[in-house]
């Protein structure tokens, strides 16, 4: 029985190995790459940003004659920010002989998916997953074009300690890889800055009623709340706080960079703060692509340009090597650089993190966010 099964498995594995070799060779079919993220679920707005960015990047690549004389085909994977679904999506994409994945969005999805990609020989570059573990524990194949939460939390915690001295601060998180990691880094840096929080607690993502949590903060006299979590819950907590008559300043992370956040909060979002990289839309390197998006009536907000850049950088490395072998590209990405992209020049360190991350504060005003001038 055991023998037969092993035989069967090796029999199944064989075509896959041959297939993999075939995909890396100078074939004639299109080169398959993928964009994976939450196309559905409560983070669908972010998934949509990624999809738009990747689609445009592939269209631009193909319009310029493709890559290595071949067209590039984009596959889409929907993980709904669910770690289990992320693993099955990763397996599916690997089964379709994808050589590169721009994704995923949620750190909780990117981390388990990266293990699958590492085994299957797929290169992964996340435009958005900021949890340090993604590259710290990642294999040869993990890269990101965004910053890390230990960098983001450092900026956020220091800002709170400097600007809200003597105020009562609550730190909340959603107990997921991204939110919890970010909240802990922020707490660390805030405490180092000499400010202690009055409440540090987790909430359950996916719920709608946060009134008990809000009353608890109201009871503790909280003036400032830092939320490590995604925009739907952060928006709801803020909205319900204002409805209960709290006068509170909310501070969040890069996941709030979407107009959907304001849709949820409405006027309650006025003055909410968040950390994100300095707006890539205003960079001169992005001007041409931003124009192209505006012509299609798309605002390339949030992660659109990050996903675009991930595809662009991968393509640049493939062009340089004249090959799409993921392992060789991974080595090349770390060895060479800086790589030119819509985000500007980007270099990777030996873990696959960008070498010069920058986090700045944004403030929500009247449905739009603008960089906070200090």
């Amino acid at each position: 029985m055991l023998n037969r099964r092993t035989l069967l498995q090796s029999g199944l594995a064989l075509p896959a190995v041959i297939g993999a070799g075939d995909a890396f060779a100078q074939g004639t079919g299109p080169i398959r790459i993928a964009c994976a993220g939450p196309l559905t679920g409560s983070n669908a707005a972010a998934g949509d940003q990624m999809k738009v960015g990747a689609t445009q990047a592939v269209a631009d690549l193909n319009a310029a004659g493709g890559l290595l004389g071949r067209q590039v085909a984009l596959e889409l994977g929907d993980d709904a920010c669910d770690p289990r679904q992320a693993v099955s999506v990763a397996n599916q994409l690997a089964g379709r002989r994808v050589v590169f994945v721009a994704g995923h969005y949620c750190s909780g999805s990117s981390i388990p998916a990266s293990k699958v990609y590492a085994e299957e020989g797929v290169l992964q570059m996340s435009p958005a997953s900021t949890n340090p573990r993604f590259t710290d524990e990642g294999g040869w194949n993990t890269f990101r074009v965004c910053g890390r939460d230990d960098q983001q939390g450092l900026v956020a915690g220091k800002y709170i300690a400097d600007n809200f001295k003597g105020k009562k601060v609550a730190i909340l998180h959603d107990n997921q890889a991204y939110g919890k990691g970010l909240a802990e880094e922020t707490k660390k840096s805030m405490n180092a800055g000499g400010l202690q929080e009055v409440l540090f607690t987790a909430y359950n993502p996916g719920e709608r009623d946060y009134s008990a949590l809000v009353s608890r903060m109201k009871g503790a006299g909280v003036d400032v709340m830092y939320i490590g979590g995604y925009y739907t819950e952060a928006g709801l907590i803020l909205r319900q706080s204002k409805e209960q008559g709290m006068n509170v300043t909310m501070i969040g992370g890069d996941s709030l960079v979407t107009k959907d956040f304001w849709q949820i909060t409405g006027a309650a979002g006025e003055g909410a703060l968040m950390t994100f990289s300095s707006d890539p839309r205003n960079r001169p390197t992005a001007a041409r692509v931003v124009q192209a998006f505006k012509a299609k009536n798309i605002d390339p907000e949030g992660y659109v340009l990050y996903t675009y850049a991930a595809v662009e950088i991968w393509a640049a490395a493939a062009k340089k090597l004249n090959a799409v072998d993921p392992r060789r590209i991974a080595a090349e990405l770390k060895a060479s650089g800086p790589w030119q992209s819509v985000l500007g020049p980007i270099s990777f360190d030996r873990k696959g993190d960008v070498t010069v991350p920058d986090y700045v504060f944004y403030v929500w005003k009247n449905g739009n966010y603008t960089e906070l001038k200090s």
């Binding site: 196309l39 559905t40 679920g41 409560s42 669908a44 707005a45 949509d48 107990n175 607690t201 987790a202 909430y203 359950n204 996916g206 719920e207 709608r208 009623d209 009134s211 008990a212 949590l213 009353s215 608890r216 109201k218 009871g219 006299g221 739907t232 928006g235 709801l236 909205r239 409805e243 209960q244 008559g245 959907d260 849709q263 949820i264 409405g266």
Partner: protein
């Protein structure tokens, strides 16, 4: 004191919504002895119809507070009731008399169909609306802590109590209620005595769906954000409430809903926010160990 008061208000208004949904579970169970697993999604449909009606009203410029809310509520109740009727027609009636698990499975199928239908037709993103009834009254004040009782919370509590009173009257005082109770006791005997049992069961689903629509509309007004997946969590909580209160019992469903809402809220208020579901479900388990039919459930008499 003020703090506990605020949490009490939070807990009651949350519990009332659970109670409204739980009534739908308990009614259907009472009459056909079957859990309607699609009920949570009928609630979600109710919320979406309320949202669409509201947006249409806003487009037509017909927005003035209470009247608009009443209209939204009525439209949502009528259309959701049609959904409830169709669910019974498609998933239950053809299987009546087949083996016991069949309608259970078909109800789960309907639940998946409804979720995917809304996901495809309305999109997967959460749909927000602004707060239609902002503000509230200040109940009491303890130093800087102000106990806020919002108009929406008042509306939810008043409406739930009103709807339940009307419904209790319907079951105890009208011919339809008598037919429903007869079907509940012995369906075959009821049909022998000239009661149209199919029609009675259909009407039970229709009423259950209308109540779910009230809950869905209240949910939309209270939280302002809905998506195609809200039926799952709310359905699980309401089902728990129905079981806790004693499935088949109407006052039990409301009592169960209130208890679940209060346990969740007070656990979050004094212990850990993330373990509130553990608290609610532990109490359910304990209750069922000592009172297997729930708090107000009747002992099932095995008929020979």
């Amino acid at each position: 004191m003020a703090y506990a008061m605020q949490q009490l208000i939070n807990g009651i208004s949350l519990g009332m919504i659970y109670g409204l949904i739980a009534v739908g579970y308990t009614m259907v169970y009472g009459i056909i002895g079957m859990i309607n697993f699609a009920h949570g999604d009928v609630f979600m449909i109710g919320a979406f119809i309320a949202l669409i009606t509201l947006l249409l009203l806003q487009m037509g410029g017909l927005m003035d507070g209470p009247a608009a809310i009443l209209l939204v509520l009525l439209v949502s109740m009528v259309i959701t009731a049609l959904y409830g009727w169709s669910v019974e027609r498609v998933a239950y009636r053809p299987l009546r008399g087949s083996f016991r698990l069949a309608p259970l499975i078909s109800a789960i199928g309907i639940s998946i169909v409804l979720q995917n239908y809304v996901q495809v037709s309305q999109g997967a993103r959460p749909k927000p609306i602004e707060n239609l009834l902002p503000g509230g009254i200040e109940v009491m004040r303890d130093g800087p802590f102000v106990v806020q009782f919002s108009y929406i919370q008042m509306l939810i509590i008043a409406l739930t109590l009103g709807v339940l009173a009307a419904f209790t009257l319907l079951v105890t005082r009208t011919p339809l209620g008598r037919a429903m109770r007869a079907c509940e006791q012995d369906r075959k005997m009821a049909s022998l005595l000239g009661i149209d049992t199919d029609r009675t069961i259909s009407l039970t689903f229709v009423i259950g769906a209308a109540l779910a629509a009230v809950a869905g509309s209240m949910y939309l007004l209270r939280y302002g954000v809905i998506d195609f997946y809200i039926g799952f969590l709310a359905g699980v909580k309401a089902f728990t409430a129905a079981v806790l209160g004693g499935i088949g019992s109407l006052p039990g469903a409301v009592l169960g809903g209130l208890l679940i809402g209060l346990i969740e809220t007070f656990w979050s208020a004094y212990f850990s926010v993330q373990y509130k579901d553990v608290a609610a479900f532990s109490i359910l388990v304990l209750t069922l160990i000592f009172l297997p039919t729930g708090l107000l459930g009747r002992q099932e008499v095995e008929k020979v």
